[in-house]
């Protein structure tokens, strides 16, 4: 859905049930133009897609069949947007979209699906189930029925600028002590986390998780930037690379989150926005953001993976793969690779910085979701199912014999940490930039 910037504030859903249902019906139509509408009538219900889905593979009940999840959305679309659905709904299984339908849709599109899109790539006819699922989420969001824990994250982003509601003071304090640690570690007195410095070439966005719990990747990025002689800064207010509006299906909120970051980039006079390792953040800011805003960005947006590869290829940083001797494998985040088109930079980087890099099978756009995508990590009500569905990923990891899992996504990293414990994998989970930083030859 294209959201005009000036209407962003007006598009929050209402609490009134009748208005909510009406908004949901409208949402059923709006996102479909030129996108999912084709896919709605493409699925032939052959049922061959079950095993392409990690949720179905780990719990093969009919409700987990991708086509069954899509059908929960399609039946309402048919009711309002096909002649037969209006005149003889029983013929095509069309159903009225009422308040009571939301529970079932929520269960299907949030509770049993991460929207990873793997089934669509492997569908016998080419129906994009992921697009249908996202339409289902649009519908639910329009009716203000998003699972509360997921909605809370979106609200945090809108109200505080970041999903964890980290204060400006906390961010600045973290940047300060991380800078000190980095200086001690590298012996370089000038290396630091730059915050609120206008006129820098790069405006760097990070996952608040890096600030709050796992600062190693932020330090590593700072170290790599320093080694490459990069001119960069973060913002103390709008530095969040995530956008939970993508997950919740709330496009107006997603547009607002995008806008606050792009406005900050303009305020800081940056020439480029560089995104920390984040699958859905990359998809949101790089691909969906301009469409949510309804305009082209004035500056370039890239992943730090693309930037680090450029540093390596241009000889701006020197690396020694001998510093990473353990076997490393790579987990491909769905939103970065399948929906983002970035699959090769991370491979080229790992091949350069690690002496024993092996692929998982399958990989790239055919990778399996780790189970933590689609906002699953924030919806505790589906926690058991999330960890269970991660068994597919755990098997993939085990088969590689790797000791380190590199994943360019902090969301996936959280899920992989849990899978590591639950399935006793005995591996270490690292961001790609941590491995690059470790391999740096600093003279």
């Amino acid at each position: 859905m294209v959201i005009k910037k000036e209407t962003i504030d007006l598009l929050r859903p209402e609490d009134d049930p009748q208005e909510a249902t009406a908004a949901a019906r409208a949402a059923l139509r709006e996102p479909l133009r030129d996108l999912a509408a084709y896919h709605m009538d493409a699925c032939v219900k052959c049922g061959l897609c079950g095993e392409t889905c990690h949720v179905y593979l780990t719990d093969p009940v009919p409700e987990n069949l991708p086509a069954a999840k899509a059908a929960k959305v399609v039946r309402h679309f048919r009711r309002y947007h096909s002649a037969v659905g209006r005149l003889a709904p029983w013929l095509v299984g069309a159903k009225e979209l009422t308040q009571s339908a939301f529970d079932e849709i929520v269960e299907a599109v949030y509770g049993r699906c991460t929207g990873c899109g793997r089934c669509g790539l492997n569908c016998s006819v080419g129906a994009d189930v992921g697009a249908i699922i996202r339409t289902g989420r649009n519908v639910v969001a329009a009716a203000a029925e998003v699972p509360p824990n997921l909605q809370a994250v979106v609200d945090n982003q809108i109200n505080t600028g970041n999903q964890m509601a980290i204060t400006v003071e906390e961010l600045k304090a973290t940047a300060a002590w991380l800078s000190e640690d980095l200086q001690l570690e590298t012996g370089d007195e000038d290396v630091r986390i730059h915050v609120d410095e206008p006129g820098k070439r790069v405006f760097y966005l990070v996952n608040p998780r890096e600030v709050k719990f796992f600062p190693l990747s932020l330090s590593a990025a700072a170290g790599v930037f320093r080694a490459a002689g990069e001119n960069w800064t973060m913002s103390s207010k709008f530095y969040d690379v995530t956008n939970y509006g993508l997950y919740s299906g709330d496009d107006p909120a997603a547009a607002r989150i995008t806008k606050q970051v792009m406005d900050e980039a303009a305020r800081l006079e940056a020439e480029e926005v560089v995104l920390s390792e984040c699958g859905h953040g990359f998809r949101s800011f790089r691909w969906e953001g301009p469409n949510w805003l309804g305009e082209e960005y004035p500056i370039r947006v890239r992943s730090i993976l693309e930037v680090m590869l450029e540093y390596i290829e241009e000889g701006r940083i020197e690396i020694d793969p001998g510093k990473n001797v353990e076997r490393v494998t790579l987990h491909d985040p769905c939103n970065l690779v399948r929906w983002g088109g970035v699959s090769e930079p991370q491979r080229k980087i790992l091949a350069a910085v690690a002496s024993d890099f092996v692929e998982m099978t399958p990989n790239r756009e055919q990778n399996f979701c780790c189970g933590g995508g689609g906002g699953m990590l924030s919806m505790s009500e589906y926690g058991d199912r999330r960890v269970q569905s991660g068994a597919v990923k755990a098997d993939q990891i085990r088969a590689t014999g790797a000791k380190i899992i590199a994943t360019p996504c902090h969301n996936c990293a959280d899920q992989l940490l849990e899978l590591n414990k639950k399935y006793s994998l005995g591996v270490e989970i690292q961001a790609v930039c941590e491995l690059v930083f470790n391999a740096l030859v600093i003279r």
Binding site: Y38, S82, L91, G126
Partner: protein, 207 residues
């Protein structure tokens, strides 16, 4: 008499084509401009999604279910043959069967394959909950159509009956599941276009 049946078939084909075109345009809704900066090629994505991506090597649904996939292929090939027969009869009503034994046999085989899919839908624990009247009726109609086509090719029934059954099926195409004849290729085009634009397609070395 055959002229009347030809008119009915031609009318039902025009009806199907007109409604499908209207549905396609309504779904397209004027399209949307993509404001994101392009990273790949939509044309290459579409080409990939209509070629390599369709091979079982790249399509897990086909690779994991070779038998069911093959049955589906036989059904669809049968439909292509039966439609070609209709085209021949529309052009030349007195045309004799094209190749009675091989084509009649193949159409009978395709009718059996479609009947298998029809029956399977009743008994599959996965398919039954997601199937509507339309899903059963579409499979039933196609099975009958292929069966009648086979009988006509084998000279058991006349061309008029075959054409009338074809007209009923064509009339139903835009109303239910059979419209996937249009929406599947368009959906495939759309996904190829989008993922090509982003640089995901063409994909080469995933396995």
């Amino acid at each position: 008499m055959l002229t009347a049946e030809r008119i009915i078939v031609a009318s039902s084909l025009v009806w199907a084509a007109a409604l499908l075109t209207w549905q396609l345009l309504a779904a397209w809704g004027g399209g949307r401009k993509d404001y994101s900066a392009r990273a790949g090629s939509s044309a290459r994505g579409v080409l990939y999604n209509f070629t390599a991506a369709m091979s079982p090597a790249r399509k897990e649904a086909a690779r994991r279910h070779p038998f069911k996939f093959a049955v589906g292929m036989v059904m669809h090939l049968g439909v292509v043959v039966a439609v070609l027969k209709v085209v021949v009869l529309l052009i030349k009503p007195t045309a004799p069967p094209i190749a009675p034994i091989p084509l009649g046999g193949f159409l009978a085989f395709a009718a059996a394959a479609t009947s298998f899919l029809f029956v399977r839908r009743f008994f599959s624990k996965n398919l039954r909950p997601i199937s509507d009247f339309d899903d059963y009726f579409a499979a039933f109609a196609v099975a009958v159509y292929l069966g009648i086509g086979s009988l006509h090719e084998l000279n058991v029934i006349n061309a008029g009956t075959f054409l009338l059954v074809g007209a009923v099926v064509a009339f139903y195409i835009p109303l239910g599941k059979l419209r996937h004849v249009l929406f599947c290729p368009v959906a495939r085009f759309d996904l190829g276009r989008r993922l090509g634009y982003r640089g995901t397609f063409p994909a080469g070395r995933a396995e």
